[in-house]
């Protein structure tokens, strides 16, 4: 599975690159202030854990589990949310 000594990639990962069941910690939101605030109100706060819960059929928006609820985002939006991943967490697979 995951290699604990693996180095952080040069380019920071975004939420859009997450695979189903993978978890990550939100680092920053690179979005206009209004949109960022809206997402933060829904739980997308830096430091919060986000899990990709489900991909919508046909490549549509994806459903993320964040701060106790599930929120759907388009890939385009998710690609502006920069995250860090704890490789260890891959060992925990979402049911």
């Amino acid at each position: 599975m995951a290699d604990p000594h693996h180095k952080a990639p040069a380019r920071q990962q975004t939420l859009a690159e997450l695979r189903t069941g993978q978890r990550c910690i939100l680092d920053r939101l690179d979005l206009p202030a209004d949109m960022a605030r809206r997402l933060m109100e829904l739980g997308f706060l830096p430091g919060n854990e986000i899990v990709l819960s489900r991909k919508a059929p046909g490549g549509g928006p994806r459903v993320y589990r964040v701060d106790g609820s599930e929120v759907a985002l388009r890939q385009e939006t998710a690609s502006h949310l920069y995250v860090r991943r704890d490789p260890e967490s891959d060992l925990i697979v979402l049911s």
């Binding site: 809206r38 933060m40 739980g43 489900r54 919508a56 059929p57 549509g60 928006p61 939006t77």
Partner: protein, 641 residues
């Protein structure tokens, strides 16, 4: 998907549970605002507290709707409840939040400042929900904090110390289940005590800086900790159901199956009821003619009023059925999944998944559909959805479709028993409306309503059983709106048309239709509609149907002096004198595209805050209708000879 285990949720400490004498008479009634995030059960609570003693109202000038109702309370005290739009914060960003903010701070000149606030929160996600408590408590109004969905919390193994939370917030807190009705007595106690608390000093607590979202969230998390909050396990049924409804293959198939089933049942279930009502309207009309003396007044009453209004009333069952289905889909939580599935397809036309819900409602009626566009935060997306909603085939188009198809389209089979030419024509008209809508959306979204990358952010609520109370209240609401329209606008048009068709008097007698004022109107527009294959009689119908599409059938009935219902063979035969088959096809196309609905124009004006958009919409749809029917008439004439 929850089940009550018979456990009564614990109620919090109410600091002032005393029931005080009401304020002296002559003052304005006490107003209590209900505030909460979306999906927190605000409306369920409101319905439970007010029952049928509520009405939907609009704040003038803005697009936001609120509901007012009188609370059911013991004793003589009157407390009015206002259900404000669901918000995540009071940060005035969207129009909804602005209104909630303005009402609560008393800065709306048209609405009195509430005397107290009921803040309802979803206790299954207390950390995030409590964030809203900061700006609400900041207002300094007496506030009751309700932790809703107590049954879910207990069942899924969560817990919270209500007394501790109450003392942390220095405000009364109660655990309730709005859906089950547990804990409601605590709210009534609070409402009864409102008058006594009017001059009480505001609760003193430390609040975070409201602009700082992370700080507010941290504050809420700490509160939860101090109230020994344990979050419940994630709702297992929601996960399981999403596994099916959002499955890559099964999801879209179920989505399509639900849509087909909804439309199929609306037509097959509602038809017998509609037929029954049609017969009743006719027979009662005939009975009135027999019983009442033969006079112009009887004619006005029977031909003008009763048949005009009656021909519209028969659509009530169909509209209610569609609203019942939409209500079930919405209350169960499926509609959010449907929006998710539809998002990708809607994106092709420049729209987003949230436009799907209003567009689905538009198949019943554009008026509630346009009001439902409020869920779309992006103003341009919302505008585009409002612009295209009236192109969807609403139920008011059905009477004229049914009449013309029965009269002009031969009942030949196309695909054996599967599809006949009339059915195919009807389906074709539905598809045509849909195509016109998405084409228009595409054009608008790449020109005047262009946006930089539309966003789609939607919280997926847990699945829940729709409650009978909420569904029936929806239907009562819709029925009221519909009946009011039939009793006012359509009644007036019917009377006016009857008068125009029977004046001026010729030698003390009612004139032939050809010499009436109505005919003059029809003849005035005849030069414009002649190229579409319509004569002045159809012209009268077109003018009257500008008010509402369904008026067309009753108008034709009045014009021909024949019972104006779509099954009437007499009316069908009479139409053949004035309309060729090519003209009938052109007329169908005209109705598919034209904006013949005053109610829709009025609601668009209200929602867009001026006459600019409705005027544009009216002209655009008229141009589309004129060009479309001109083309249809000439193509049909060429092929049909």
């Amino acid at each position: 998907m929850s089940d009550c285990h018979g456990e009564t949720p614990r109620a919090g400490l109410l600091p002032n549970p005393s029931i005080q004498p009401p304020r002296p008479p002559g003052e304005r009634p006490i107003i209590v605002a209900i505030v909460g995030p979306p999906n927190s059960g605000k409306s369920t609570l409101f319905n439970r507290l007010t029952g049928l003693r509520q009405k939907v109202a609009n704040f003038p000038g803005v697009t936001v709707e609120h509901r007012m109702g009188k609370a059911k309370l013991k004793g003589h005290q009157e407390v009015f409840l206002v259900d404000l739009p669901g918000v995540y914060s009071l940060h005035p960003r969207a129009e909804d939040e602005q209104v909630t903010h303005d009402v609560l701070t008393g800065t709306r000149p048209d609405f009195p400042k509430p005397d107290a606030v009921i803040l309802i929160l979803d206790v299954t996600n207390l950390g995030r929900n409590l964030v809203l408590a900061a700006p609400i408590l900041h207002l300094g109004l007496p506030t009751l904090i309700l932790l809703n969905m107590a049954d879910d919390l207990a069942q899924r193994g969560g817990k919270v110390d209500v007394a501790a939370l109450s003392s942390e917030l220095n405000s009364p807190v109660a655990l309730i289940s709005a859906a089950k009705g547990t804990g409601i007595d605590r709210i009534q106690q609070f409402l009864l005590g409102t008058a006594a608390r009017l001059n009480a000093p505001p609760a003193r607590i430390e609040l975070p800086i409201l602009q700082d979202v992370p700080k507010c969230r941290q504050w809420a998390a700490n509160l939860g900790k101090r109230a020994s909050y344990r979050a419940p396990a994630p709702p297992i049924w929601t996960r399981r159901l999403d596994g099916i409804f959002l499955h890559p293959v099964a999801g879209p198939l179920i989505f399509a199956a639900i849509l087909v089933a909804v439309f199929q049942s609306i037509f097959s279930w509602a038809t017998p009821i509609m037929d029954f009502l049609t017969v009743k309207v006719q027979s009662s009309g005939a009975w009135m003619t027999q019983v009442l003396p033969n006079s112009p007044f009887t004619s006005l009453l029977v031909d003008g009023v009763w048949k005009g209004v009656g021909s519209v009333l028969v659509f009530l069952p169909q509209i209610l059925l569609l609203f019942l289905f939409i209500g079930i889909l919405e209350d169960s939580g499926y509609l959010a999944r449907a929006a998710l599935i539809a998002d990708r397809t809607m994106a092709i036309f420049g729209l987003q998944g949230k436009s799907f819900i209003p567009l689905l409602s538009a198949y019943a009626c554009a008026v509630p559909a346009i009001m439902a566009t409020r869920v779309i935060e992006n103003k341009r997306d919302r505008m585009a959805t409002i612009m295209i909603a009236p192109l969807m085939t609403c139920s008011a188009r059905l009477p004229i479709y049914i009449l013309l198809i029965a009269a002009f389209i031969p009942n030949t089979k196309i695909l054996g028993d599967l599809l006949s030419l009339p059915t195919a024509t009807m389906l074709g008209l539905y598809v045509l409306g849909f195509l016109a809508a998405i084409f228009t959306a595409r054009v608008l979204k790449s020109s005047i309503l262009k946006t930089k990358g539309t966003s789609f952010v939607l919280e997926m609520p847990p699945y829940r059983w729709p409650t009978l109370q909420s569904l029936s209240l929806r239907l009562v609401d819709r029925a009221k709106v519909f009946l009011r329209r039939a009793g006012t606008v359509i009644l007036l048009v019917s009377i006016l048309l009857w008068i125009l068709a029977h004046l001026p008097l010729e030698g003390g007698k009612m004139p032939l239709l050809e010499h009436s004022y109505a005919a003059s109107l029809g003849k005035a527009i005849e030069p414009f509609i002649r190229p579409l294959g319509f004569n002045w009689k159809i012209g009268i119908g077109l003018i009257s149907s500008l008010i509402a599409r369904e008026v067309m059938v009753s108008t034709l009935g009045t014009i021909y002096g024949i019972q104006g219902d779509e099954h009437s063979a007499g009316l069908q035969a009479a139409l053949h004198h004035d309309l060729s088959t090519a003209g009938a096809i052109a007329l169908l196309i005209f109705f598919a595209f034209a904006m013949q609905c005053f109610s829709t124009l009025a609601v668009v004006k209200r929602e867009t805050g001026g006459w600019r958009w409705p005027a544009f919409q009216f002209s655009y749809m008229l141009a589309l209708a004129y060009a479309g029917s001109w083309l249809a008439f000439h193509v049909a004439k060429h092929f049909l000879g």
